[in-house]
Symmetry: C2
Subunit: 433 residues, 2 copies
């Protein structure tokens, strides 16, 4: 099978909402932190809570008769095989790890919806033209290495990145030892690189995720279809002025580096809203030297990032940041420099997969919204090697990465149902006319 | 003798410029740091370099036949006695300690000019109606306790402050042991409080200091006569917004605490220039929470201080800061709070002493400028208990607390000469008409 199929009348299967919602609540309870300790839950990769969630997934998969495996990058998956040994596999996935004090559904929603889809497919007995597999990717949140599992599986992990991941993990010897016991190949860099799947073995990739932003809720729509995952650039902007005594230096002769930095920080949001309405830019931190009450700041370093769905928009954001930094430094007679610290390109989703997702939502009569993803996802790794699409469901008040993160149960169920419908159209042979 | 005398034709004595300038260079070389280590000099209180400078002072004083003593707060002084045991003493003074990487003349100028004044007076043999004493105050720069020596001598040190000073000094056991050996009473809190001088034992206090700001240089004037030492208030301004994902939260729905802080930081300088032109306000530092690239800042804490010569101006600055903080927080839909962290009142200089200093400058034909002191000085402690005045000489480019601090030799000499002339008018009996 090549490409994304089109099938106007696939069979209608139904997810079992009660079973699926119960799974979500069970996993949300794993790694829970007391409110007094900040609340939410913490399933950092390779922690004991993380493995507990993975055991829950593997147990559910085994009970549904699925093949369970752990690959050399630690990705856990459950598989419903294809008709032949060389049939490609449609991957579903997301991640069971969380940030500290994370919310209940970030990552877990996509993994458990995938499990539910596989269960329904298995129970239906309908013949499929390819395999279907749900993957819980290792360390999506980047405790040791951003999108580590999906980077490895998609063949984009370098040996240097694997070594750096293991070095960072080495700071948590218990967690690393636990992972080495469970993961085939013991997480040696050579073994990790073997997690790569050849693109021809894959049919495509679908991911259901919470939006982590407020757009769907504000639009009153339950399904978002991702157009692209934002590219991201980050910089350190350094402003230099002149250190002076804060008591003896009149205002009009100062060259205050912090005032220049403040000018940029303050001007940026309004300008971005007007110039690149679909993009974002954030000043997340600032460090001042010498950073005391009684000295006019001689240096200020601002941490800036910008994200957008297209290269043209990212270029426009970068250009605007440079122009505003120059103007702000000039206004205090100071100097400035912008040093790039990270860069990732925008990742468009596959148009045919987007069309498939739209058809699935339309068949259920569910309104949906095309929107870009401001957050990074495993889908951006898979999109480089196989036709990829993403579904979003609404985050209440747009909150995420915090205990307050929430998605209403009806939206969780609709998300899983549309995912199932899309998978069915993809993998089930059209009936002979 | 009560009050500040007026004597239209005091005898004219001359300082020995060469001797005085050589003393300054000798002390400037003590504690010097290599350029590779940041340059300047470092004579932190009780360090070995600090005592080396004090030994230089005591040696010079002994050779001039002066009485040398160290009081229980570690203040080093040299004294030319009065005509009777109960005659009051006119104090001259400043400090030999420096900040790290300090300049050559901050503090040292006033101490060594005082030594020179005493030498010339002693050599002149002219009868005096009071004693004259030069004091090198302990820890003016506040390594362990702001204005510690002058606070103790003027009876304004509390037992709690003495204990806190000793606790901080205890972090440097070698320095503290060295000080305890040399200081009578061994720096016990009880002993330190004995450094207090009864106000009736003093005639007044005069201090020559570098300006540490650019006003004299910009006015092309060699002598500044201080009108008042600025009062100072400092605060922590806390802005609260809402932490959000920096990739997924559109610009228009954010409540960014750092943007609010930036608004205040950027608006303040222009407003202060217009509203309180003689005052200053500075944002010296800012701390952002969580302070990472990819989270919209939920909290930002700004370190603010304001200084002015009058209570009315300080109140106006505080009011303006509050109004601007409220407006900035409101603009992002956030909250704010201002917490006071320190407060000192403005200290006016004695009008009769200012008039005496003006007469001394006028007799030499030296133009002078009335100006407030933006920095704190030992004079602000002495002014509470005895008639006090301060002379400033220009700082090149207004620099201080850095290796680049400099005052031209001719200005150093004029400063010492005007100080001598003022002392002569103060302490020499008018000739019978």
């Amino acid at each position: 099978m090549n490409g994304v199929p089109r099938n106007e009348a696939p069979p209608a299967l139904e997810i079992q909402a009660e079973r699926f919602l119960a799974d979500l609540e069970a996993v949300a309870a794993i790694g829970r932190l007391p409110d007094a300790a900040g609340g939410g839950r913490e399933r950092r990769p390779f922690s004991s809570a993380h493995w507990a969630a993975r055991e829950f997934l593997m147990d559910g998969a085994r009970r549904a008769g699925l093949e369970v495996q752990i690959d050399p990058a630690g990705n856990v998956s459950a598989r419903l095989p294809g008709p032949t040994a060389d049939a490609p596999t449609l991957l579903l996935g997301s991640h069971l790890d969380t940030v500290p004090h994370g919310g209940p559904y970030d990552g877990a929603l996509g993994v458990l919806a995938g499990l539910e889809v596989l269960r329904v497919l298995a129970e239906s007995g309908i013949p499929r033209r390819c395999g279907v597999e749900v993957v819980d990717f290792t360390d999506e949140e980047g405790r040791f290495g951003d999108l580590f599992g999906s980077r490895a599986l998609s063949g984009q992990l370098t040996r240097e990145q694997a070594v750096a991941f293991l070095e960072r993990a080495g700071a948590y010897p218990e967690d690393l030892a636990r992972a080495r016991e469970r993961i085939p190949g013991g997480l040696s860099p050579e073994a990790v690189l073997q997690a790569r799947r050849p693109p021809e073995s894959l049919a495509g990739y679908l991911e259901l995720h919470i939006e982590q932003g407020p757009r769907l809720e504000r639009a009153g729509v339950s399904i978002g279809i991702v157009t692209a995952i934002f590219g991201r650039r980050s910089w350190l902007a350094t402003f230099r002025g002149r250190r002076d005594h804060a008591g003896t230096t009149p205002m009009e002769v100062r060259s205050d580096a912090l005032v220049a930095a403040a000018e940029l920080i303050r001007e940026l949001p309004q300008w971005v809203s007007e110039a690149v309405p679909q993009g974002v830019a954030t000043c997340g931190n600032i460090q001042v030297d010498p950073g005391v009450y009684n000295v006019v700041p001689g240096r200020a370093v601002v941490w800036i990032e910008a994200r957008a769905a297209t290269l043209e928009e990212l270029d426009r954001l970068e250009q605007g940041i440079r122009e505003r930094a120059a103007k702000a430094a000039g206004a205090v007679g100071g100097q400035w420099a912008l040093r790039s610290t990270a860069r990732s390109e925008p990742t468009p989703m596959d148009p045919a997969v987007r069309a498939l997702l739209h058809r699935a939502a339309a068949r259920r009569g569910v309104p949906c919204l095309d929107l870009p993803s401001g957050a990074g996802h495993d889908a951006q790794m898979l999109a480089r090697i196989t036709p990829t699409g993403m579904l979003f469901v609404p985050s209440v008040e747009g909150r995420s990465h915090c205990p307050q993160e929430f998605t209403r149960p009806e939206d969780r169920v609709i998300g899983a149902q549309v995912l199932l419908d899309a998978v069915v159209e993809w993998v089930v042979e059209p009936r002979a006319a």
